[in-house]
Structure formats: C-alpha cells, structure tokens
Amino acid sequence: MAYFLGLVIALVAFWLGMSGHNTPLILSLGGVSVALTCILAYRLDIIDREGSPYVRLFGFLAYFPWLAKEIVKANVTVIRACLKADLDIAPALVKVKTICKSDLAKVTFANSITLTPGTVTVEIEGDKLLVHGLYEQDAQPEAFAEMDQRSARAIDGKGAAA
C-alpha cells in the first residue's frame, strides 16, 4: 500500500510540475492520466520495491549530497587528466566485492561508480563488480568501500534484511 501511495504522490507531483494549468478540465484530465498509469502499473504487477522506490527516498536524499561531493572530486581528477600536456593515465580493471543485498542497492552502487568520472562498472556477476578505472591507484577495491556501505545503508536500510 505504501508503494501504491508513493507512486500516486510522485505521479501527481510530476504532473503538476510539468503542466502548471489550474483549470478544472486540465486538472481532471491529469487525474485521469494518473489513475490510468496506476491501473496499468497494477496490471503489469510492477508496484513493488523497484517500481515505486519512493519509500526509500529519504535514505537516498541523505546519500546524494555525499555522492555529489565525490563526483566533483573525481571530475577534477579526470579534467586534469584530459588537459595535461603529457598523457599519463594508468587504466586498470579491478574486481570489487559488494555488501549490497538487494538488486536495487546493487544498481545504486554500480550506477554511483559509473556516475563518478574515472570509474565505469563493466560487468556485474552476483556480488562482484568488474570496474574499469582511469587511474590504477584510485581504483583499488578499498576505494569503493565507503560508497558501498553508504549505498547499502541508503537502499537496504540499517537492518539490510530486505
């Protein structure tokens, strides 16, 4: 039920943000489209943890500022590497083990790695991620430990039971 409510609230907020019209006709059309989307989502059976992840929104909101800071830091490194007169990169492939349990947390972790410039997730197998890094010294498995813990806490919660 919480997933359903979260989906309705998100859709209504999205619709209001997109349209900005307040006449009854347009508002009722918006209500119909939200209802139709909910019915279709229910029939597709995707109103669950992944289809409506808004219950975890607050955990994610706490995670995102930290991720943004990491992205800015990594950006500086890669911009330096791009503009240096002498190209001195040391690419490496590393295997990273994750403590994330659910698929959603793994996706968050892998996407965070890819979103930070200088590291790209190449493949996921079980709880191991194959990561390609621009600098060998920055792409050691220990470097991802904090991001791993934070994304696991943001999505799986403290108990991490899921």
């Binding site: 996407n111 997730t121 190449v122």
Partner: protein
Amino acid sequence: MAEFLTDIQGIWEIVRFPLGALMCLAGALLCLVGTVGVLRFPDIYTRLHAASITDTSGAALVLIGMMLLSPGWLIVAKLFAICVFLFLTSPAASHALANAAHTAGVQPIIGRVGSSDADGEDA
C-alpha cells in the same frame, strides 16, 4: 526585517542572471574539455571516462545555470526533472556501452600509458 528581506531579494534579482550565465558558460567549457579527452584517450574504456565529464559536471552546471536564469518555478521544476532523469539514465548508457565492448571481447589497455606511445593518433 521586512526591509532586509526585500533588500536580499533585490540583490538576488541582480546577481542571478550573471551567475546563471557564468555557470552555463562553465558547463559548456567542461563539455569541451570532455570532448578533448574523448579525442586524446587511447581506447573505448578510457574514452568513456572522458565522456562522463560531459554527462555529469557539464550537464549539471548548464542545467543549474538555466535554473538560475529561468523566470518561474515551473521551469525550475522541469529542469530539475531533466536533471534527475539525466543522472539516472546516463550511467546506464555508459554501463551498456562498456558492457557491450567487454562482451564483444575488446581488450582494455592496462597499465601506464605515456604520451610517448603513438597509438592515440591512428585510432
């Protein structure tokens, strides 16, 4: 107190346009830097790293700059939605590219790449 608030608002109205324009310009420059990186780096995986500058900081700065320039909250909401979708989808696209290259058997260049290597030019 009310006077102080209107003062702040007046200053903000003056400041936000140059600030927004400056952020847009910085974002455009970062996109340019990303392009330079794409041209300079040796293989597909390292080029993806350069492209992700354009994806993250370049796009974010341009969008924040446009938010500062925008006339109303409605535009800000739309730009924010663009920002969210961009940040959700661009890593998926990068991962799909890297995974496709890996599956197709493209071997990444491993180890130190110096500028003395000439393999960047003929690629």
